[in-house]
């Protein structure tokens, strides 16, 4: 079973990664990052059971806390840029280049 869970987590991670590359709405991009973090958590929990120690679950718990903080900051930044540009598209922000 462990392998199944891991493959699932790998798939979710990869889908999240692709989503970051494909979506232009900053909020959706950020959701994809969250999906990646969730995939990580699944791997942690799976490994925790595999090894029979609690570290994995513990890390997953910490990741949730960290992710929550990150979400707050991230959404604040996105709101900030939306206010200025009236657009949440990440492609709009490309004054800095070359």
């Amino acid at each position: 079973m462990t392998t199944h869970y891991l493959v699932l987590s790998a798939l979710l991670f990869a889908i999240g990664g692709v989503g970051v590359l494909l979506r232009r709405n900053a909020i959706v991009v950020f959701m994809c990052v969250e999906l990646m973090l969730n995939a990580c958590n699944l791997a942690f929990v799976t490994f925790a059971r595999q090894h029979g120690n609690l570290d994995g679950q513990l890390i997953a718990f910490f990741v949730m806390v960290v992710a929550a903080a990150e979400v707050v900051i991230g959404l604040a930044i996105i709101v900030m840029i939306f206010r200025t540009r009236r657009s949440a598209s990440v492609d709009n922000a490309n004054l800095l280049k070359y």
């Binding site: 970051v20 590359l21 494909l22 990440v90 492609d91 490309n94 004054l95 280049k97 070359y98």
Partner: protein, 638 residues
Amino acid sequence: MQSPAEIVSHAGGVTGVSWLMIALPLFGAAVLLLGGRRTNAWGHFFGVAMSLGAFAVAVVTFVELLGLQPEQRRRDIGLFEFIPGMVDLGMLIDPLSISFALLITGVGSLIHIYSVGYMSHDRDRRRFFAYLNLFVAAMLLLVLSDNYIGLFIGWEGVGLASYLLIGFWQHKPSAATAAQKAFIVNRVGDFGLLIGIFTIWTTFGSLAFADLTHEVAGQASEGTLTAIGLLLLLGACGKSAQLPLQSWLLDAMEGPTPVSALIHAATMVTAGVYLVVRSGAFFEAAPTAQLVVTIVGVATLLAGAIIGCAKDDIKKGLAGSTMSQIGYMMLGAGLGPAGYAFAIGHLITHGFFKANMFLGAGSVMHAMNDEVDMRRYGALFPVMKITAVTFIVGYLAIIGFPLLSGYYTKEGIIETAMHHNQILGWLAVLGAGLTGFYMSRMVFMTFFGKKRWADDAHPHESPAVMTWPLIILAIGSIGLGAFLVLGNRFMNFLSPAVGLPQPADMPEPHVFGVGTAALATLALVAAGAAFAWFRYGAAEVPAVAPRASFLTTFARRDLYGDALNEALLMRPGQWLTRIAVFFDNRGVDGLVNGLAAGIGGTSGRLRRVQTGFVRSYALSILFGAAAVVGALLYVGNI
């Protein structure tokens, strides 16, 4: 790296602050150059003060050194380690370096003082003093460094200062050209020196003088030592205007006269002699290199004398004479420990009387509206007595008039050379005779005979700020030689640094220093002087140089030195450059330009990858991650 030589740990004292010797003039240069016009009002005094300060430190250091036992008169002062174990900068205070330091700061200070008067009408006087200070600092670094790196830095520093000072009057095209010439010719020598230093480093693994003792040098093969010696000699030839790199010195007289006195007579041009003496360990172990040194010395002393005979420009005449006298020193330096003391002694006395004469010449020029042609002088003795008397003292010293400075030191070189090798000795005697002729010619044409002044010339004595240095230098020209040579005082003083000669190498001492060679020299000098009197003292001197014999033309044209350079170096050089340029354009340049264009193009293209879209960046991260994972799996053989 603990040096094998005994290092006396210094427990404070003045030697602890002897770095001030270099630091003070350097500070002066920095203040004057960075301070800009704000320092115009007091800059020259500041420069003089810095130079005098360095002199004071040198004197105190010297006195302290004298207070020690002779074998302890050697102090290594580590200033700082640059690359640990590889490049350290430090100062070596020993009899040899302190002698130089005293000469440089002493004569240098006098010339600084003189320049206050001489340059008083120049708008850029501050800049001039900045360069002078820079020169003094670099020269002191050259002689006080305890390794070849520091020496080389100082060497380049004096080269730079010399370049700046020769070209000081940039508005004169001749000055600019002369400065460039000096710079380029010196590059040839510096190249040799640099390769020499590299060779020393690869052979012995150290560049500190303390590590490069006679024993250490003896371990290398003679071929290597000869190569090192010849390479160092090439460097010395460049800086000291020895054949075949002599041609820049005469042109260098385009610089202001104090520069000629300080740099191109008293101090910088003697750096080559210092280098040869300092590197004695290599030369003494390589007789071939030593022989070449003596040959170069003799050839130059004759060439310089011949040039001096034909010049009508007073400064160029003196420049020829400088070449010639440095030839003597080089000859002495090539004779091993027996000659070192005389070479350095002559260097010091020469520093005095030649500076004296240059400054005298400057004083004359000052009086004659910057006229340099001796054919326009004559009968200046009554008008400017102090200048004339001091000049004549210098003159008597240089021709070796008995009991004056030059007599003792030059005679020492000639006799040691005679003892070493008869041919060298007699050629040196011949050179002395020529000296007697051309120097007398100079004095007679300038101070005696009839007035041949330009119509608007109103000669007058120079101000006290210029004459006092002359007087002090003249006193040195009189007494210094006897002080140094009698009783081998200087030789004994120097011996901890350069070693004592074998008794067999020494000529027999004479009562009052009169031997066969000396008698011959005196006779020839007298003949030369007499001949000069008949030609230029008693007879009428034409105001325009007459057409002359082949020999005179030969001498007037600097022995065709420039033509020779042109034929031997410039033409082939130009061919070489043309070929090189061809290949350069086609091959190297193509390569370099191609490379540059390639890098630039790559850069431009890579730059476009940075599209500004955050999603592209994320893509690159994902690709990178995949690549790193793949690579690690590949490396891990999975």
